[in-house]
């Protein structure tokens, strides 16, 4: 069995701290397989994460890695990319990290179109703190801070990213591993702000509260409810039930990335040879 992806992990930092049945490891592996597929230089690739379960992934990955503060991965990543544009910068974040405390940074990262690939591990819950509702916990689902079911309306992070100006927007799941890898690889290809939502299972904190404590069943839920975008677009509205959701590439438009645009500023200012 081909295990060439192992060189991208810090073997001495494993095993990971995630719970049995957690989907984070699947998404983490999809990221390194996308990196391998795209042939990124391991010495010139930086993984930046926020705070939360998913953001612990950076410590297991054998690159220059940065575990930032809660919600702040995108500003740090922006500084890295602008300071040294030859680096490939991949951001790992979670649904709470990216769309709650980091929400402002997320939309402005999209708007600025800095060449980053942001992978949001969406497990619909704050896992590390023990299962509180996030802005991506579906309405009516239960959490320790929504014991009677969430009344908040949840974000669709992909639509949010597209509206805010991201130039590559895609979604996949931990069940669709190959597809997820392809979606991330496409994000790496896009020279601009790429956003990939990776739906993954948290049996411990989300599943148990919502009658889905079996990780295999959570993945079967992904299999049964994810609809490829082409099929989704043809689906009649009455078939688009609350549980169903589209996956695939939603948006990809080539626009000048921030570092390239800033190089023009440097040209105008006369600092190009400095």
């Amino acid at each position: 069995m081909e295990r060439s992806f192992e060189k991208y992990f810090r073997q001495n930092r494993l095993p990971h701290l995630w719970c049995p049945g957690c989907g984070n490891g699947i998404v983490m592996k999809a990221i390194v397989q996308a990196i391998e597929k795209k042939g990124l230089d391991q010495d010139k690739t930086v993984i930046v994460s926020g705070i939360g379960c998913s953001s612990r992934a950076s410590g297991y990955m054998d690159f220059d890695t940065l575990h930032t503060a809660h919600g702040r991965a995108i500003p740090f990543a922006t500084g890295i990319k602008l300071a040294n544009p030859e680096l490939n910068v991949i951001v790992i974040t979670g649904d709470g990290d990216c769309t709650a405390i980091g929400g402002n940074h997320f939309i402005h990262g999209c708007r600025r179109n800095v060449d980053l690939t942001v992978v949001l591990f969406n497990n619909s819950i704050y896992g590390m703190t023990g299962g509180q509702a996030s802005p991506m916990t579906p309405t009516h689902k239960k959490a320790t801070t929504a014991p009677y079911g969430a009344i908040d309306r949840n974000f669709d992070a992909c639509r949010l990213a597209e509206a805010a100006g991201a130039t590559y927007v895609a979604r996949s799941t931990a069940f669709h591993v190959q597809h997820l890898t392809d979606m991330i690889a496409g994000g790496i290809d896009n020279k601009g702000f790429s956003f990939v939502e990776a739906i993954c299972q948290c049996p411990t904190s989300f599943g148990r509260k919502n009658k889905m404590a079996d990780p295999a069943k959570m993945m079967m839920w992904m299999r049964d409810n994810a609809v490829m975008k082409a099929a989704w677009d043809k689906l009649p509205d009455d078939k688009k039930t609350e549980e169903k959701f589209p996956i695939g590439l939603f948006y990809n438009e080539s626009e000048t990335d921030y570092a390239t645009a800033y190089n023009e500023v440097i040209q105008i200012a006369g600092g190009a040879d400095k």
């Binding site: 930092r13 391991q42 010495d43 010139k44 930086v46 930046v48 950076s58 410590g59 054998d62 690159f63 220059d64 890695t65 940065l66 575990h67 930032t68 503060a69 702040r72 995108i74 500003p75 740090f76 990543a77 922006t78 500084g79 890295i80 990319k81 602008l82 300071a83 040294n84 030859e86 680096l87 402002n104 940074h105 939309i107 402005h108 921030y258 800033y262 500023v265 440097i266 105008i268 200012a269 006369g270 600092g271 190009a272 040879d273 400095k274």
Partner: protein, 382 residues
């Protein structure tokens, strides 16, 4: 042709940072520090550097830390509420040992306060603003030229100690315009980014302290595959839940500044040779205090002035020496009384310490400090 230029303190701060090798700035508009961002936006691209206006103060702090980790000397600037918002990531810089300079052009607080008015109310915030135990370096200029010099110094200290440094300006100096002559580039000493002392194969660890207790952390992209986190970490950079490491790291962070304390604690004395009384002041207030002391001298009062350029670490030695020599100390500061507590701690009853405080959004008049000197000489407030 004279090289003299008419320049604002905030502008001089920009010139100083660039002269010290700063090539990255992230910021957000806020009075009275905005001219620092504007100056950076104009000048950084002329030297191949980059300026980015971020969505908020927190992002401004995050983006400069990212840039610093990728190898660029980086600065951010703000005032009042903006500095409050930056506190969490100032702590991150202290914990992860990332060189960075934060310019704080102080205004009246708390909260929105008096946005355009001067204050020196962030003395204690500069030291204790973020959570947890960590050391801090803060420098406070009193003139436009010194805004340049302390900006250079702040950048150099941030690199040398791999720590956040606060350039604690105030609105008085930030918006003051003076004729200045800036030094030639060749006359400016620059502390370069520290370099890894060995290769990965030779067992390099990014947070192993050098002899001066400061680590030689690699920049991202140099092939070292380092891990940086705000969690307490050992020399490898990885988090570890160990009481021993937690204690050792916390102590080393303090010690790396403490062992260099004498060298980085800058104090200037005026009329102190035969002084029987001393006024302690800093920043914009020291300008007024100087005039007050000079006026008192004309009246025959043997008073001198001690000006703190380095606010943190506090000038324990210098203040202690003065306390042993004079009959009384007056601390003049544009706040409700902050630095005075440090002076009292160090003086420890050796002589009376009086406070000359002002917190009404206006700067001191020399007469106000002269009145404070008179009271001190007369044996304290009634």
């Amino acid at each position: 042709m004279s090289k003299a230029r008419l320049m604002q303190g905030n502008e001089a701060c920009v010139e100083g940072a660039l002269a010290a090798g700063v090539r990255f700035f992230g910021g957000y508009p806020i009075t009275p520090s905005t001219e620092v961002a504007e100056g950076m936006a104009k000048l950084l691209p002329t030297v191949g550097g980059k300026f980015v206006q971020m969505e908020d103060e927190i992002a401004s702090m995050g983006v400069v830390l990212g840039a610093s980790l990728a190898g660029k000397k980086a600065v951010t600037a703000s005032s009042g509420p903006g500095i409050s918002l930056k506190q969490e990531l100032i702590g991150y810089a202290a914990a992860a040992e990332i060189p960075v300079v934060i310019v704080n052009v102080q205004r009246v607080g708390p909260s929105t306060g008096q946005p355009t008015a001067p204050s020196q109310g962030d003395v204690m915030q500069a030291r204790w603003g973020t959570h947890g135990d960590h050391p801090m370096i803060a420098l406070s200029p009193w003139s436009v030229r010194e805004a340049f010099d302390t900006a250079v110094m702040a950048v150099n200290y941030s690199e040398r100690f791999r720590t956040p440094v606060i350039l604690l300006m105030d609105e008085i100096v930030g918006h003051l315009r003076e004729k200045v002559e800036l030094p030639e580039a060749s006359a400016i000493e620059i502390y370069p980014r520290r370099k890894p002392s060995c290769t990965r194969a030779e067992g390099y660890e990014p947070f192993t302290p050098d002899k001066d207790l400061v680590p030689n952390t690699a920049n991202f992209g140099e092939g070292y595959h380092i891990h940086v986190t705000g969690l307490i970490h050992d020399d490898t950079g990885f988090p570890i839940g160990s009481p021993k490491i937690t204690r050792e790291v916390t102590k080393r962070l303090h010690d790396k500044i403490e062992i260099a304390r004498d060298e980085i604690t800058h104090v200037e004395e005026y009329f102190m040779d035969d002084a029987e009384y001393a006024v302690i002041a800093f920043g914009g207030t020291a300008r007024t205090a100087y005039e007050a002391v000079a006026n008192a001298r004309k009246k025959g009062v043997k008073v001198g002035m001690v000006r703190l350029i380095t606010i943190w670490p506090f000038a324990d030695k210098a203040v202690k020496k003065i306390a042993e020599k004079v009959k009384g100390i007056l601390v003049a500061e544009l706040n409700y009384g902050q630095l005075v507590g440090e002076v009292e701690r160090v003086v420890a009853g050796k002589c009376p310490v009086e406070l000359c405080a002002k917190y009404d959004m206006t700067i001191f008049e020399p007469a106000e400090i002269e009145a404070g000197i008179d009271e001190l000489v007369a044996g304290g407030k009634a």
